[in-house]
């Protein structure tokens, strides 16, 4: 009897395994090579176990990510079945047919965009913006924020000196001017026998770095991309005198308060400078915060986090993050959609957050315990409430590179004035939109 049961069990499992392997696909997910990608590999093991599909990953370092992956998409490559592409790619990828439209799939599977943080839906999923046309599921919420050396801020002698100098407590800055004061205060100071510097900010020229940094100042000095009535109106908006003041602020911050040699720094250089104890403040995307907390030098309570401070004309922060899309050239679209369906589940999203991924699902971030679940959780929520994103037009790359050139030329190389840099930017952007037939 026992033998018969064992044989039957073996036969049943053989049939199940056979059925699974018959429909099992090998899915390749493409993303940037960074800490959250490692967390996703871990998370995806559950999907492999549940679905029988196997997952492969193609991760490319950030400076080459856009080059590599946009080449892949533009050439109709079949390397990636799933793409966690940058938010700015959504327009081009939708219009060029690189991603499949997900509306019908969402409707059939009961996935609603109302369940996600609105800013991430607009930023990562919609094209055209503000319309219910979805090309991605919000996968990783991210935003530029600040990390600071809480242990240095708490040193009594520094607190006293700061109060004497600036007439207020050495505390988390609420405005950009306060932030600059703090950076200036720490610049060149000796702490624990080491010379330290004020702030590590984005200055990278080759990809998107300085734009992702400078917009945190420009938005708060009034930068908008067009107006609600005229989405491509640039003259007098992008180069308004108050926006030029924002650019001057960023240059002043660069001139006064960064470590020597930081003329081409982006995410990884800022992390290195902060973790090695070179700087008191670090501008960076929120994805780094779990790594900071776990770091033996600066983690475990030595660091604090705060949203990008307000400026005279607003309080915003640069949106980062990405949505997950199905590549239209994939031969395994059904399995890829299955992955998205699995990924959208609240319990998977909760686990995603636990592993270090920033979920954009409201059920996760609005959980009463969320804000206290990590030291940076509240800052993440506060930051996500003030996000603004760069252009997501099909020509975003031309718009981005023009801004990289103009801003780097002024802030780092010191050529011309802020007003001239923005006037030049308006010329460049106008040319791009004219070429696109939008102006």
């Amino acid at each position: 009897m026992k033998t018969r049961i064992a044989l039957m069990a073996a036969a049943v499992s053989a049939v199940i395994c056979g059925a699974q392997s018959a429909s099992a696909d090998d899915l390749t997910l493409c993303w940037a090579a960074w800490d959250p990608a490692n967390a996703l590999v871990e998370l995806s093991k559950d999907f492999e176990a549940e679905s029988g599909h196997t997952m492969s990953f193609e991760f490319v370092p950030w400076p080459n990510f856009a080059d590599r992956m946009l080449n892949e998409l533009n050439s109709g490559g079949q390397l990636c079945d799933l793409m966690i592409g940058d938010s700015q790619w959504i327009g081009g990828s939708a219009e060029s047919g690189h991603y499949i439209k997900l509306n019908d799939f969402f409707e059939a599977e009961g996935i609603t965009m109302d369940d996600f943080i609105p800013a991430t839906v607009t930023g990562y999923s919609e094209w055209p913006k503000g319309t219910p046309n979805y090309w991605a599921l919000p996968a990783f919420g991210d935003v530029v924020g600040w990390t600071y050396r809480k242990d240095w801020f708490e040193m009594p002698e520094l607190q006293a000196e700061f109060k004497d100098t600036y007439g207020r407590d050495l505390a988390v800055p609420e405005t950009l001017d306060e932030l600059k004061d703090i950076a200036e205060f720490f610049q060149g100071r000796e702490i624990d026998g080491k010379t330290v510097y004020g702030a590590a900010i984005y200055t990278e020229r080759g990809s998107e770095g300085i734009t992702m940094g400078v917009t945190n100042a420009l938005y708060n000095y009034g930068l908008t991309y067009g107006t609600p009535d005229e989405p491509y109106k640039l003259e007098g908006i992008v180069n308004a005198p108050e926006v030029a003041k924002g650019l001057e602020f960023y240059k002043a911050l660069y001139d006064c308060c960064v470590p020597p040699g930081s003329s081409d720094w982006y995410m990884s250089e800022n992390i290195d400078a902060y973790k090695s104890g070179q700087v008191a403040l670090q501008m960076n995307f929120a994805f780094i915060w779990p790594g900071v907390e776990a770091d033996p030098n600066v983690g475990g309570g030595k660091s604090g986090y705060f949203p990008n401070p307000a400026g005279p004309d607003g309080h915003f922060a640069q949106l980062g993050g990405q949505g997950i899309s199905v590549v239209s050239y994939s031969d395994s679209q059904d399995a890829a959609l299955e992955y998205i369906k699995w990924f959208a589940q609240p319990e998977i999203q909760a686990k995603w957050w636990e592993l270090g991924g920033y979920s954009a699902l409201k059920a996760v971030v609005e959980d009463p315990d969320f804000a206290t679940s990590q030291p940076y959780a509240q800052t993440f929520l506060d930051s996500m409430a003030i996000v603004k994103d760069f252009w997501a037009e099909p020509s975003y790359a031309s718009l981005l590179l023009a801004m990289q050139d103009r801003v780097h030329d002024y802030v780092i190389a010191g050529n011309g004035t802020a007003q001239e840099a923005l006037d030049g930017l308006v010329e460049d952007w106008t040319e791009v939109f004219e070429d696109d037939g939008k102006m």
């Binding site: 080059d67 533009n74 930081s262 081409d264 590179l401 050139d405 780097h408």
Partner: protein
Amino acid sequence: MSNSAIERAAAATPPNIARRVRGLSDRAIAWIFVAPSIFLLLAVNIFPLIWTIRLSFTNYRVNRPNAEVEWVGLRNYQRILTDEDIWETMQATAHFLFWTIALQVVIGFALAWLINKKFRGDNFWTTIIVLPMMLSPAVVGNFWTFLYQPQIGLFNYVVGFFSGTDPSSFSMIGEVSLAPWAIVIVDTWMWTPFVMLICLAGLRSIPTSIYEAAECDRASPWRQFWTITVPMVLPFLMLAVLFRGIENFKMFDLVVQLTGGGPGSTTELTSINLKREAFEKWRTGYASAYAIILFVTVFGLASIYVKALNKVKER
């Protein structure tokens, strides 16, 4: 022995094939052998060139396969030639070309002259000197960024040590006035050995009898250098300049790793700028026109130079 092998092969050739081959003229047989190479050349070089010329008159973008392609005439060329930013990249390239070639020729020739003196351990020193050119440009660019680091870089430390300045007070790749020189220094460090090797070949090709005859005529070493060494090495030197000129005109990897074209656009050479237009902004038509302009420039200059080189060789 070999004749018999040929005869055996001829005998083994089936009569119908032998008859067909016998019916072909020498010219036809030559074409049969040359045709694959010509086909390859047409497919790999000439067709892309013609296609690029065609694209340069359009607004084609490779990332917009669904968009309508418009014929824009000379607009791309006009935009490029009137764009101040492009002239700035041309200037940056000219600065890079002039100084790298000048320094490499002077130092390369001096090193070759020293090595040619035959001293104890000269082979060892030759090997040491040529090491940099054996490295990958990307690797060289990467590790020089560390050498140039104001806080930990060896270069800054050495400069600081000898000049008494604070090493962290200057940034070779972060300052507008220094960055163009930073890339010149690295390229010179890497490629001077190449010029040295070519010069060394030239120096060693000079028959010693000429020097012996000059000594009989009581010519001074200085006179020998200017009337024998320099003229006889000149064709080699000019060849080295041609190679380095063409290479540095299309310099990309080393500079991208070092400065990324910055600060601002200070070290954005034409090839970096072209790559950004073609594969980051995806302005394929515009980038094609840009590539054609660069091609004509290099081809024109190289042709004039080769004519001059031939004249020097004929002397």
